[in-house]
């Protein structure tokens, strides 16, 4: 692999990490600046540094994000192993050991967790779906799409809509989460979290109600970014341990 440098491999890892979201904020862990560094050694072992806004951030979400990062990076064909290290957290030792040994959340926390994370993960996937749907519907209504047309729109028709850049991004983000609600109406573009079709006459009220979910998320996001900044000075770009400057927010596409 003479043409591929370590820096290229690290960039691949960063791209894989971009797809991992904080389940609650529904934003990428790299955009949130939770990832502090990526390191690939000569044996194709990947080391990822990971930090959170406070020492007290929920253990379940911390574990989920670290586990998701590990899984995503393991998909890269050249990767031999992945070590995710969470720093300065009340459960850092427990989580780091659990991840290192490839244990599940339940195995890691034993009695403190009385079940797996399936339910809480689904709860937040549904909230993310609602937020993405509300943002998309508001945009489409704003662009002049009629409620009667929107409620009947199929999944494929939505995917094929000719929209501006902002609209296309909202569609892509929404379709990424749309499969969270399956069921009889899986062919429809828009359904509620129960899988039921939406009604044209109540669509505006429906979108308004969803905005409550968004209000919570905005609070969380603003708070998390602010707390992280006070704790770690997030204005200064991170530097990779391999001395190549690595600004997470403005990386050129490789």
């Amino acid at each position: 692999m003479t043409a591929v440098t370590i820096a290229d491999l690290e960039a691949e890892v960063w791209r894989a990490l971009e797809t991992i979201t904080d389940p609650e904020l529904d934003e990428s862990v790299t955009d949130l600046k939770f990832v502090t560094g990526v390191d690939v050694d000569a044996g194709y072992r990947v080391h990822i540094g990971f930090r959170l806004p406070t020492y007290w951030c929920a253990a379940n979400f911390s574990f989920l994000m670290a586990d998701d990062m590990r899984t995503a990076v393991l998909q890269l064909p050249w990767v031999r192993s992945v070590e995710v290290t969470l720093g300065e957290h009340m459960y850092a030792d427990k989580i780091n050991t659990g991840l290192k040994e490839g244990r599940s959340f339940e195995e890691t926390f034993g009695e403190e967790a009385d079940g797996d994370l399936v339910e809480v993960r689904r709860t937040f996937l549904l909230k993310a779906l609602q937020r993405r749907q509300a943002a998309l519907l508001a945009h489409l209504i704003d662009q002049g799409f009629a409620p009667t047309m929107l409620v009947d729109l199929t999944y494929h028709e939505l995917a094929a809509l000719d929209l501006d850049q902002a609209g296309a991004r909202l569609v892509a983000r929404y379709l990424e989460r749309r499969p969270v609600v399956a069921g009889a109406n899986a062919g429809l573009a828009f359904v509620d979290v129960e899988g039921q079709p939406l009604q044209a006459e109540t669509l505006a009220a429906y979108v308004r109600a969803l905005r409550r979910v968004d209000v919570n998320a905005e609070f969380n996001s603003a708070l998390c970014r602010g707390l992280l900044h006070v704790r770690f000075d997030t204005e200064t770009p991170l530097t990779s341990r391999r001395a190549k400057p690595q600004d997470q927010t403005q990386r050129a596409p490789v």
Binding site: Y55, A59, E119, F219
Partner: protein, 346 residues
């Protein structure tokens, strides 16, 4: 006391204040250090730049500083002292009822003292609650369900032991239960901010008022739902209010939701001192209006009447404060001398 441009006086009761010691000398371990530093991050992140303290000032302040920040520099007339123990993190506790009682004894007309209990303390805790109510004439308690206690990382209000304590508290004459919904409640796999346990106890204990501090944020939607269902659930604005500076649009949404769902009679102002100080919070709150578009959509308007309720009238009702009599007491102790001087200077 806040005075409007037209000269109207608004009596202010601060529903959530602390007289803590988070200094390194009192920190028992890394958790104690991280706890106060997390509070400091909230303070530094959400305060206007000229209201920021140093970490050292923040870790421990004296009684005089607190008094002046609340009642002289700030507009508070009275403040509720909420006790929080955190004995796993701090050698002498973080903000104990004894420490708060000592402050109250210096300024008795200014403070309402609330105690605390922890259902995990069993019979010993029940005896202590009994003794504290007798000694300090408590009518309220603050519960910190996310407190660590040995292997336990928290408890729920609908635990059997919590019921035992709530029954005892009600018998002893406690009326107001302030609940902090914190993020580390077990089991760890569940949504740990969930406010569902409040719903359960509010239904079971109709004689008690449950004031949910921080309005259940970030689960405002869940909170509004249960608070609408239960007549004895209130929302405390601590932590929500400082967003008025950094995120006014977000704060407008929170207020619109609260006014729409739970109404103006069940929202309580709180500064969360020393995380934030009353002066700037109330200056901004009094100047604040819900944007017209949002008002139209939700019907929520932040009128002067509503502001008066939130700033003092609601808490006065919960704690049986006769505002005119209390003003007399504060005035007699010289508590309004600085206002008279300021008016004379105008």
């Amino acid at each position: 006391m806040y005075r409007t441009a037209s000269g109207e006086e608004i009596f202010v009761i601060d529903g959530h204040t602390h007289f803590w010691d988070g200094s390194p000398a009192n920190q028992k371990n890394i958790h104690g250090k991280q706890f106060i530093e997390c509070f400091y991050a909230y303070h530094a992140n959400l305060s206007p730049p000229d209201e920021k303290w140093t970490l050292e000032q923040f870790e421990k302040y004296d009684a005089r500083t607190m008094h002046d920040d609340l009642f002289v520099r700030g507009y508070d007339d009275m403040a509720i002292l909420q006790s929080t123990y955190l004995t796993d993190f701090y050698n002498h506790g973080f903000n104990t009822v004894e420490r708060n009682a000592a402050l109250k004894s210096e300024y008795p007309e200014r403070f309402i003292l609330n105690g605390a209990f922890d259902p995990r303390d069993g019979n010993k805790g029940l005896e202590q609650l009994h003794a504290d109510v007798e000694k300090y004439k408590l009518t309220g308690v603050k519960l910190y369900t996310a407190e660590w206690r040995g292997e336990s990382k928290g408890y729920r209000l609908d635990d059997k032991e919590s019921y035992t304590f709530l029954e005892a508290a009600e018998k002893l004459g406690i009326k107001n239960i302030h609940v902090h919904k914190g993020p580390t409640i077990i089991p760890l796999n569940k949504d740990s901010f969930h406010v569902g346990d409040i719903d359960d106890v509010a239904t079971s204990f109709q004689g008690l008022n449950f004031i949910v501090e921080h309005c259940g944020l970030p689960r405002l939607d869940d909170f509004c739902w249960i608070a609408t269902q239960e007549t004895n659930v209130y929302g405390g604005l601590a932590v929500a209010l400082p967003f008025i500076h950094t995120r006014p649009a977000y704060f407008a949404h929170v207020m619109a939701e609260l006014l729409f769902w739970i109404g103006p009679d069940k929202i309580l102002y709180g500064s969360d001192y020393g995380i934030w100080t009353p002066k700037w919070l109330i200056d901004r709150f009094m100047a604040f209006e819900i944007p017209e578009e949002l008002s139209k959509e939700t019907g929520a308007v932040l009128t002067l009447e509503t502001k008066k309720k939130i700033l003092g009238l609601n808490a006065a009702r919960l704690y049986n404060i006769d505002i005119d009599a209390q003003k007399q007491r504060i005035g007699a102790a010289g508590g309004y001398d600085h206002l008279a001087a300021a008016h004379a200077a105008e």
